[in-house]
Structures are given as C-alpha cells and as structure tokens.
Symmetry: D2
Subunit: 363 residues, 4 copies
C-alpha cells in the first residue's frame, strides 16, 4: 500500500526530494495508446515551480524519462516506468531542519512511521516534489481520455478569501478547459486572478503563506461509470486527492453547501433533452450518484491549507532530542501551492476516471 495505488490501474510513486530520482511505475495501462511526449511535458510544466512572483527559486527541470512500456510512441500495455532525475537539490538549504519538526509538515510523523530511517532531507518522500510523478501519470491518463472526448479541467477557485467564479456545472466545454490550461495563472476571471497574485505576494512579504481551493470539472464522462460503496468515483478520486500534500477537504457537486438546502432545492430533476439523452436540469449532485457517473459533468472542489513552510520563526520540537526549539526556515519559500496544485488535482481525477473507464464495455 502506501505509495502504491491498486485498482484496474496500479501505480507506485517512488523517490525522495533529495535522492537520485523520483518517478512512477504504472501497470495495466491499455496498450496501443498514442502518447504525445511534449504534451506530457506541458502538463508537468504547469506543476513545476516558476521563477515568478508566485514561486520559490528552486528551478526544477522535471523532464521525465520513460524507460519501459512505451514503444513507437504508444503504450505497450506492460508497466510504464518513468523517472525524473533530481538535478538541483540544494541540500544545504535544509540542513538545519534535520531534527526540527517543521509545523504542518510530516517530518515528525514520518520519522515515527519509519522509525527514523526515512530520508528526511527536503521532506523526503513526503515532499511536494513527489507530485511531479503524479502529474506524469495524470498526463498519460488525460491523453487517453481526451481521445474518447473526456476532458478534465481545473482552476483556482479561491485564494485566501478571493474568489474566482465556478465552472458552469452544466455547459462547460473543452474549449473553456483548454483556455484555462494555457493561462499562466489558471483562473476563469483574470481580474480576480490578479487580486489573488497580489494576495500571495502580500503573504510572501509577510514571510507567511496562504491556501485556497481548486475546483475541477470532468466533461463527457459517459453515464454508468463507477461502482457502489468503496470503489465508486468519489471513493477513488478521494483516495487519490488526499495523496496530494496540503489537502484538507474535498467536496463533490454542491458539497458542504447542500447543508443549507432542502431536498427539493438540492435534488436535480431528470429530463429527456432534445437529443433524447437523460440529463438533469441542475447539477448539485456533481455528476455522480451512488458512486456512478450520471453523464452530467463531474465537479469537485479541493481545499488546500496554506503552505506550511513559512519564513516566520516558529516554536517546535527537536524530535530526536524531544525538546523545545525555535525554527526559522531559511531561503525563499513558495507562499502558495494552490497554482501548482491545479494540475495535481487534474491528474488525480484523470487517473481515477481512466481507471473506471477501463470497465466500460466500449472503451
């Protein structure tokens, strides 16, 4: 378990922040799927830290190398393993963290779990850097799904109280998804994006950080995909989404807002549209009923806490000596991971959907 997801598709994310390489090994991909390697790199680039106002100085060159399961530009169906070399590790930056538990990080819990033997440098296997292989896997899944017309898009829905508008839960199309994907700062309303950038900048100046919400939509998922109980679409998506660092909450459709509705307000009435398809007039259910797709767009929102790495001094403990200490994290830190989390959420949803689509009779 742990870093292996086991379902119709299985994959293991491996590596540590300061080890030789990170990567992913994906088993049971369908054979014969063309993969455009440049598009994979584009997907991954959206996750990589940029040398811009919203990011750290660490320049990651997340160039994946596929070593298996890929032949003549297509998946072979055998395990596809890709690694990303860690070329720019700056181990020194983290040297004083060796025994101090960074608040909000997994330094302390990871040390307990692995009895002190894990590679703690830079967060080790718990580092946000490990989302790069997740995005690689998601980019592969996305290309396979897009050939079937299924598109997954995401945007920054909120940063520290500043909100973007939501995706239209009925009429979002692939062009809108693609348009946001091209943006440097992925929001629907750019003026709101500008306010968010300012808010992030303010946090940086305060040696602090902010969190936010990523909204995600998946369109053209055929009705009838998924399963009841523990292997439904929500379950799979949830299991993967909570694998992304800093996620604190997840809701589907109207989510927590349904608490303020009555049943008659929340229920999405079915009707037969002019194409003869069964659809719903509203989409509070977020495209999933009983774990199974309804044919309506799948919508979800993911809450990310503020980046725990902040420059302000913090009280903490030395977890090897079990004594109180003060921690001051040196170097520049990313005051908001939410922009980089956008492709991570897409990746998780793409993988979950492809996984269930493999059960689909006409896949």
């Amino acid at each position: 378990m742990s870093s292996t997801w086991k379902n119709n598709i299985s994959f293991t994310v491996f590596g540590e922040s300061h080890g030789a390489a990170i990567g992913v090994c994906i088993d049971d991909l369908p054979p014969g799927e063309s993969i455009d390697f440049d598009k994979v790199c584009e997907f991954m680039a959206r996750r990589a830290p940029k040398k811009s106002v919203t990011s750290t100085h660490r320049s990651e060159k997340d160039h994946p190398t596929i070593v298996s399961g890929y032949y003549n530009g297509k998946t072979t169906g055998t395990p596809l393993c890709a690694f990303i070399a860690n070329t720019d590790q700056h181990s020194n930056d983290y040297s004083n963290l060796s025994k101090l538990a960074r608040p909000g990080h997994a330094d302390y819990t990871g040390a307990l779990r692995y009895r002190g033997f894990n590679d703690f440098r830079g967060g080790g296997h718990f580092s946000g850097r490990l989302t790069a292989p997740l995005c690689f896997a998601g980019a592969i899944a996305a290309q396979i799904l897009e050939k079937r017309g299924i598109y997954v898009g995401a945007h920054i829905a909120e940063i520290h109280g500043i909100k973007d508008k939501n995706f239209d839960p009925i009429n979002t199309d692939k062009d809108m998804i693609r348009e946001i994907r091209q943006k440097e700062f992925p929001v629907i309303i750019d003026v709101q994006g500008n306010e968010m950038v300012k808010e992030i900048d303010r946090a940086r100046k305060d040696k602090d950080s902010v969190g936010g919400i990523v909204e995600c939509i998946a369109i053209n998922v055929p009705a009838g995909i998924g399963s009841p109980m523990f292997d439904g679409l929500e379950n799979s998506i949830a299991q993967l989404i909570f694998g992304i660092p800093a996620v604190k909450g997840l809701e589907f459709g109207a989510g927590f807002d349904t608490v303020m509705m009555t049943g008659s307000e929340n229920n999405d009435e079915f009707y037969v549209n002019d194409k003869g398809h069964v659809v719903t007039r509203t989409n509070n259910h977020g495209g999933i009923l009983g774990g199974i797709s309804s044919g309506m767009p799948i919508t979800l929102r993911v809450a990310f806490k503020p980046t725990p790495s902040i420059s302000k001094p913090q009280e903490t403990v030395d977890y090897s000596a079990i004594k109180n200490e003060t921690l001051e994290i040196k170097g520049r830190h990313d005051p908001c991971v939410v922009p980089r989390a956008v492709p991570c959420v897409e990746a998780a949803v793409n993988i979950a959907l492809l996984n269930h689509m493999l059960d689909y009779p006409n896949f």
Copy 2:
C-alpha cells in the same frame, strides 16, 4: 472492488434492500479479540430508524447473526460473516418506482452500471439500509480499538444551518464521547439539538427534507499510524466515508476553513508537554500530517445532503422508456438521515483506524 474494501482488513458488504438478507464478511480481523455482542447491537441500534419524529415508519429489526469467525465469544482470525435478515420489506411501497429514476438516488446510474439487472427494489444494493452491515463491522472494530484506549465519537454538528458546538480538538475525552453516544439525539448542546429536531419536523411537514454535518473525533490514536500518499489515514477514511450514501463532502481538522487562514495562523506548533510527549498547541491539522497520525485527536467533518426521498412531486424520467414523467413518492420518508449517519461515520473511522493499527508494532 465495488463493495469490497481491500486493505490490511478486507470486507465485503452484501445484500439488497428487499432481498433475503444483507450482511458483511470481514477477513483478517486479529484473532482472540473479545466481542460483546450486546454492545454490537447497541451500536447498530443507533443507526436503525426509530418510530419517532425523526424517522420513517419502517421498523427494521437489525439483529445480526454471526455465522463464522467467532468462537467462545472471541474473534478467531478467520473470516467473520454476519447477516441481517430482511423481515419487513414493504415491497409494495416502492412498486411505482420501478422505472422512475428518483432524483438524487442511484436508480438511473445503477441501472446503467448493471445493465438493468440489479435488484432495484427499495434502492437495492444502493439502499441506505446497507449501512447496517457497515455499522456492524464498525462496532466490531470499535470494541477492538477501545481495548487499546482508542475511542471514536461523533455528533450532529449541523442540520440545515442550525449548529452544535464542535468537539474540543485538544481535550475531548472518552467520557464525553460515551455521553453523546447515550443520547437519543446525539449533539453536544441539547438545546441546539431541540432546534434541529424542530427543523427536521418542519421539513417533514413540508414533504421535504434537510441535510447536515456530522463531526467525528478519534482520541488516543498513537502517533505514527498510517502511510504517505494513497494509504494514509485520510485516504482510507475518505474511501470508506464516501461509501456512505448522501455524503457530499469531507474535511479534516480545520478543513475548508484553512482557506481563510495564513500559514502562521494555521500551522500547529509542536511542543513537549509536561508528560514529555510531543504535542501541538492547536489542532488545525486534525491529528494527521502526511497521512500519518500525530498523536493529537483526529477530527473530521462529513457533509450529508438532504434525503433525496421527498414526498413533493418531482419531475423525472422513466429510464426504461426514456421519457419524462412526474414522480410522487408515497409513504412516509425519513426527512433527515443525519442522526442515523452518526454511527455510520463512526463505523467508517473505526474500521480505517483498526486497519492501520494492525501495522502498529505493539498492537
């Protein structure tokens, strides 16, 4: 997959609302654990519909029969299978639903998923009744955990805008958990509970329904339990929680509220307490960092949508004929599942925790 959860513990929930029986088969329970059958029934009784203001008239006698894996009052370690006979099925009540997709239910998606062959009567395998075996499994897990001092409690945190106070995320003890468990209407502040009951009653009179939030806490979970990425505590809990019907959202610790905090506000500083233990001053992280328990109480909140079964007429489709129809659900319906969902949430958390505790060296 689907109705089977596969991990250190595996279990399958089986049955349909109007079949001969429902039940659960649990594999890999530890051997030699005393199980007090009366306490199991008490746990399950909290989930059963009551003939009170807050529930339907269907009188379910959810008396489980254990047929294997239990000998001389103890678990044997081999699969423990229990079934609950369906004695009071009222199939007639649902007869006009046979082809009409109840909005908010899985009738339509289930029919597609199973190509029309599923037993749709009363929701079949998608019925809320299937939470009875989940509660059975949770009650077993709870007894095993409580012997190790780990207690899981839950309460109604909100019904349609009326709020209870939250659990104290630092100092909740087992007596408080037990006290709420005894209550007919499980809230911390009873006057708020009374308001909630009124709100539910109002919904019933309106032939409508309301949803709410269940808050759950787990105390005395040792630090270091869980794993990174896809098999952490959040992942397992999420996978099980989204197996409960009507769940639309899940958050851990400060959850979606972290979006309004800065990193310095949200980070929980560590310190060594007077017993020499590493603890945090606040508990916004909800007892889990990197998928692994920190030793602080684990806290989570689960959003339940309003019961989709309402008596008001609703527009929908006949999914066999693909034509528009009006649906009027006859009989009395439970206008709020939240009270009954409280033990279901506890069950899911107990199972997830026991699952991970089995990796604990000194279990």
Copy 3:
C-alpha cells in the same frame, strides 16, 4: 488476504466445519448472467461425501442459500453471498482431537497462526468441508463460461499408482467432458476406475488412505487471455489450486515430463489450420505461453496426498501441553479425497478463467 481472493473477481470463503454455516461472498460477477440453481447443486453434489464405499458416513446436505446478488434468476452484479448451513456436525466424533495435532493436518500450524483462538473443531476453517463454497463459486463461474462455449472438465488420472488415460490435449470436446461429469466415479477408462475403487477399499480396510492425481482440461478458451509475470493463467490457477486442502503439486501441459525432453521434442510448432486459425501440432505447453492462453486446450494435473485422517494409531504431540501422545482417530474416514477433489479442481480453474475472461474485449 488469507481466505479472500482479490482480482477482477474477488471472493471470500468463510465458515468453520462445526460453526453455524459456511459460505462464500463473491464480488464483481458480471450482471445479467442466468444461473440455473439446480445445475449449481449438481456441481456441488459431485463434491459431497457419498454413503458409498469411497466415502465417510457423514451425510452433508450442502444445499446453498443465495441471499444477495441474484434476482429473477440472474446475477445482479452486486456481491453474491451464499450460505450452507452446517446441520450434521457430529462434534463428539472429534472431541478427543482437541489438543492432539493430527499428523498431516493444520491443527498445530493453525493453532500457532491464530494463537489458539481458531475454532479447531473438525479442522475448523481448515476443514475439507470448506471446499463446498469453493465449488459453489466454481459452479457459478462454470455456467457463465459455458454460455461462451468454454468448458472445464476433470477426471481422476491416478490413484496410488493406478492410472487412467489422459485427456486428449488437442481434440477433447465438451461431450467428453460432460460424459465424465455424469459418472459416479469420474474416470475416462471405467475398468481403471474399478481398480481404483478397489485400491481405495483396500486402504480403508488397512485403516489407511491413498492419494492421487486429478487432471483438468479447459477447452475453447480464446487465445490472448491472461497476463505476464504474476497474474498469468498459471499464477491465478496455482493460487487457487493450492487453496484446496491436500494439494502437493501442480503441473501444466507436459509439466515435470518436459525434464526428459529436448527443446525440439517439447516445443509445440505452430501452424495455420484449415479454418485459418493459428494452432499447435502438439500441446506440451498446456495451452498457456507467457501466462497467456494460446487457444489450445489448457491442461493441468494436480497431485493430492493421501488423506491424513487415518484410523491407524499415530505418534503425535499434544500441542497445548507440548508433550508426546498417541492418537487414534475414531469413526470412519474417507480413505481417498481424490474423487471429491475433481469438482474442486474444476471450480478453481473455472474461477481463474472467468476472472481473466472479464478482461476480454468481447466478453
């Protein structure tokens, strides 16, 4: 794990020899498959002990009761759970075995594995009786496969040195499989069967027992089913076959005999037959290459040790007191399980094949 098999299909075999019931819970069966319940009972009857020369006096009425996943004579696709009540347990027969490890049985190893908490009566969960639910599951799988033209047959190939002829590995057809299935004593050459019966009778008179070999064939399995490495047809079949008590060996195709061949003798040359199909002239490979079906009949042979329950006095230990004792097993015992093992082997192969067939594009 343990009593749960997890793959495209998952199932858990539950129960103890002297508990209330034994049974099986099968998840992820395809929906809409007609199941003839009488045929299931016929399949299971071939496994049940008969009051004839070749078996014990215990009269098991292995009548399964399906409680879920089956509606209007068809599978629903949701978990199918079936119980078989234990009605005739004769606990007294086993009373003196409570602390004595029967040689060749799992009494001692089971007690260690479950730290003394397992229900040891009559072998408990390790009893050969637990092959009844396996046969139930196999009977379901067989009916689903036979509708696709795939037939699995088995016969007694050898009892204590007395040999039947083998299935023709190229030309066996379904009529031959059906013919053997009808026989009281399932062999191809009945005169050899008569010798085997005499040999079994001789063993009984000697208060002893004998073992043998079951040969199994599966015809009309389409080419291309299975996977390389750890989830190939051999791997799945092996994992299930070694779940049948008393199995000591397994070989596919020419098996151990290939050791006496050269490559040029053993290699099965391919050719295009007059129907335009790719086939092999010989079938030493047993229908599987690289874990994947070749389209030729799948053949395997399973070695069963002599029944360990014998009436002769045996030296052993009291495993609770850790002291030497002499054991004399009372009552009449089945001196040869091989006839009853025939449907068990078929069951395992049917389940493994159905599991892999679910990946087949046109299933």
Copy 4:
C-alpha cells in the same frame, strides 16, 4: 495486476529486453534494514549469463542502480526502485523474428494480449532477462531474512534425467546452503554436475536444448507463518514461481511422489524434540500444513522446460500474416536455463517468505 505483485509487500517488475532499462519498484519493505549492495550484485551475478559452456554470448552487465527508498545503506520504508540499464542489446540478432512466433515463446500470445502493441524485440517484457529485477528484489528480501536466521538455498536437482541428490529435508543448515551458492555450477554432488554440464553441451552441439528441476529449501522459518486458503505459503510461492519463464510444474515436500504413498507412509508424525520443540520425524509435508509453516524446512521443486530458443529449424507461423513459415533462430543460444534459474527460484521464495514474515508478531 500482471507485472505487479500485491500483498504485504508489493512490487512491479518493469521493462523490455531491448528497451532503455528494466527494473523493479518495491513498496512496503520494512524500514531500517541494512542492505549490502555488493551482496545484492553477487546474488544477481548468479543469474547473469556467463561466457562459459553453459550460456549465450550476450554479456549482460546487470548492475542495478537504486534511485529511491535507500538511504545511508538502509531501506527507508518508502518505495525502493532500482534500474538496470540495457547496454548490450544486439537488436539485429532478433530482427527476423519480428513476425514469426518462436515455438514455446510468448511472441504469439503476447501479440494477441497486447493487440500487437507490445515491444516484441527479444521477447520484450516476456524475456528471461526480466528475471534480473526479480533477483534484485529477491536479494533484498534474502538479506532481510538472513538477519533473522532464515536462509533460502537452491540447487540444480536434475538436468534432462541426470540427477543430483536432494537437500536433506530435516538437517540442512546454512553452511550447506552457502557452500552451494559459491559454486560455479550449483549442485550438491559435483560429479553429477559435471555430467549435467556435458549433457547441456551435447544439447548445444545438437542445436537443441534441455530442461531440468530446481530444488529449493528454506530453513529456520518460524512455525505459524502464512495463512489458510488463498494466501498461504504455497499460494504465494506458487504465484511468484509461475512468474519465472519456462516453469511447467511445482511441488512441495514429497509432491507428486505422495501419490505412491499411503497415508501412514506420508503422514509426518509430530514429536517433542530434546530442545522442547514440536517437530516432525519426516518432512513429506515440506514444512507447510494448511498454508502455514510448521517450523520444519520448507522444500519445493520446480520443473523448467527445455529452453524454447533452439537453433534447429522449426515450423511456425507468421502471426501478422497468419501463414505458415519456417524459423531458423540465428546466433548462439543458451541450451539450458536451469543453472540461471536457481537464483530466480530462491528470489521468489525469499520474497514470499519476507511477505508473510511481516505478519509475524516479533519480526
């Protein structure tokens, strides 16, 4: 599934014979285990083809590179991924095989399974070369087990009718295992080994090949390891052993020979030895009863067919054009894989044992 084994330990073997690299990603290894990298390489060297009489000319430098899960000479507990670059591929040697199904190989079945998209060069993912990562994983497992006193040894028991003596199933100790491990040609009786080498040489001169049997023993496995039914020691070992190419049969303990014994001959009587341990006088059961270790040495024998790659002309088909052809495999080929299979069998057994040992209370 397919190339991923999922249990307490999970691992995926990836790569193709002529791709960039092959390797293995192992999840859930225990943390803090010292791994001597040189010893890993020694283990793997036993599998590598040698430029001696018994092997091909391909000089494989199977030097693994560990990129994750290994820090300061110890396992970290997070996924351990290792690569082996493919440096010496000689693609040309195989060029005329592109469309001809080599008899006894998975060319045809693999092409069907992967709909023609697999990398078929040199057998691709089905190549015997993929046993190198298996041996890597086995070498890691062996080191962890040997620290607990558990040793797994194997030798060539038979080549084309020429037999070595068997391991003593009661008294084999680690020194004997180590002694065989050092031998260039791993047999117990060297004069028999010399005859085997001659037999292999004879096969080469005949442009043919021969098979054989590998016997394996595991000593000091504590009693009580394993589980009943589908996750017992036999099941796990079988699932892994049948992942090694060319395996046609597997038997435990007295295996197929038990067919010639009576119950009283085959049953291994228990007694309390002078150290107060429960042991058996004989070991026909091969150290496993009911899927669980008895504390006696675990013994098994694995049949390998003659190498299918032979230089003699063979009739076969062009599986793309579906027409008959004659195949003449160029280049020198290994006329017997059995010597190289010895560490592969050890690897499979080590992995299966470590997997089950992780359940052991005092591991």
